[in-house]
């Protein structure tokens, strides 16, 4: 049953050192405020899971919160590299980061399997690529009906899924729309779900194409207006594309990055 709480309280209760955590979102509704709170709380040894790790994973990795990344595309969308992610993989700074790497189709099917209570999912994928050689959660499988060779990927069941959505009601029913990525699958696959929302309202009104997550599959709901910025929440805020461009220079340099984290997260008022 969903509990409405302040973000620091919800995350202190939901996320522990060593947990596997999926902060999902496909360049829309990225839970920036929640990621910053994890850094503020000094979480360590997290396994971070995400199809498209972007700036918030760069920040969590650079701040030393993560020991492993499970992902399918790690970049600053439309800009280029994630320099803190690269520094961790290329030089082990600020600590070694192990990686488990997939394609988007593989990652999303891992969430689907997790949400469906299955140990694995099947897809046409990876054949001829080098990914199965480096990723143990990819394996060939034979169709029992046709004999066709296909690919299996193991289920993902994160300890915690964290997403940002547009609205919740006071019971904790959550509504999100626009580009909805793999958020529903991540929430249903996870053992615990934390949702930040733009606003909590008395009654949810239907929106075309919206997903509704019933209150009984959500553990925590936190009202955090602007909690996706500099990403965006369709209907509420615009994407701050300039921030993503500026992040390139901040994240290239270890000191500039450290100063940014201090000024904007750990020592921010």
């Amino acid at each position: 049953m969903a509990v409405l709480a302040a973000l620091p309280e919800a995350l202190a209760s939901a996320v522990h050192d060593g947990d596997s955590v999926a902060l999902e979102g496909f360049t829309h509704l990225i839970p920036h405020a929640a990621a910053h709170e994890l850094i503020r709380q000094g979480r360590k040894e997290l396994t971070l899971i995400r199809m498209t790790p972007d700036v918030i994973y760069d920040q969590l990795i650079g701040a030393g919160c993560a020991s492993k990344l499970v992902f399918s595309w790690g970049g600053n969308p439309g800009v280029g590299s994630l320099h803190r992610f690269r520094d961790a993989v290329e030089h082990g700074w600020p600590r070694e980061l192990s990686i488990e790497e997939h394609s988007h189709a593989g990652m999303v099917n891992r969430y689907v399997a997790g949400a469906s209570g299955l140990p694995f999912a099947v897809l046409r994928g990876y054949a001829g690529t080098d990914l199965p050689e480096v990723t143990s959660s990819i394996a060939p499988i034979t169709c029992p009906f046709t004999g066709e060779r296909l690919t299996a990927v193991s289920a993902l069941n994160p300890d915690v899924a964290i997403i940002h959505a547009q609205k919740a009601d006071r019971e904790g029913n959550v509504q999100l729309w626009g580009i909805v990525g793999a958020q529903k699958e991540a929430v249903l696959a996870a053992k615990c779900a934390v949702v930040t929302v733009e606003e909590v309202v008395d009654e949810l009104t239907p929106v075309p194409g919206a997903i509704l997550l019933p209150h009984w599959v959500v553990d925590w709901v936190c009202e955090v207006p602007g909690g996706a910025a500099p990403s965006y929440a369709a209907g509420y805020t615009e994407r701050d594309n300039d921030f993503y461009v500026r992040w390139d220079a901040v994240s290239r340099d270890r000191e500039a990055f450290g100063a940014w984290i201090a000024a904007n997260i750990t020592e921010a008022e």
């Binding site: 399918s72 969308p77 439309g78 992610f85 988007h104 189709a105 897809l123 054949a127 580009i179 529903k184």
Partner: protein, 248 residues
Amino acid sequence: MSTVHSAEEMMTVAASRALAGRRTCFVGIGLPSLAANLARATCAPGIVLIYESGTIGSKPDRPPLSIGDGSLAETADTVVSSAEIFNYWLQPGRIDTGFLGAAQLDRYANLNTTVIGDYRRPKVRLPGAGGAPEIAASCQETIVIVRHTKRIFVDRIDFTTSVGHGDGPGARERLGLRGAGPVKVITDLGVLEPDPETRELVLVSAHPGTDPADAAAETGWPLRIAPDLATTDPPTPGELGALRALNS
């Protein structure tokens, strides 16, 4: 408007022309997105552009910075989840053309977007696969757009992220890949196509003002040049105007 075009503009125009007659295109961000939107403004007005963020039929006025930009969703015919875009739309082979870029490419148009150097301690860690492996596997055909440099056109790619023509004739069939694979590689110097027999890339057209020797010099294997090498038609004023309007 200056009618003098840059090599970059020639590349984008040539890539847009490759979409003439196509009904649906799965679009990567960056150069593919710019070329696909130019095609929509010129030779393929009805083409359905599909982005891996789940937007189907996007009609942005400006090329988006990222595949999640609001304009892609707001102008789309429909927006679907990640599971749906890959499982229902891409995987069954419904999409005519996949449009991809790469950090490295070999003579069979196999693509690397994962690492430069050793996988465990890479010299350069690239973003990774994203949707590319399944776009390369499942679209009816793919078109690759890359700058023509020795850094990209290498003898051996450091990691196979997405399969082109594998190790040559019959490779895709042996791997069970149902799409035809790369049909064109479009660069700032010319257009390459796989040889129908060997599947090795052959330079079939050189852009105006470039010498096929330039392309050969920027290729990390002995580049084959078609005996009937064509010269690419330069951008028309209409194409250039539409491209510059998109970029303005």
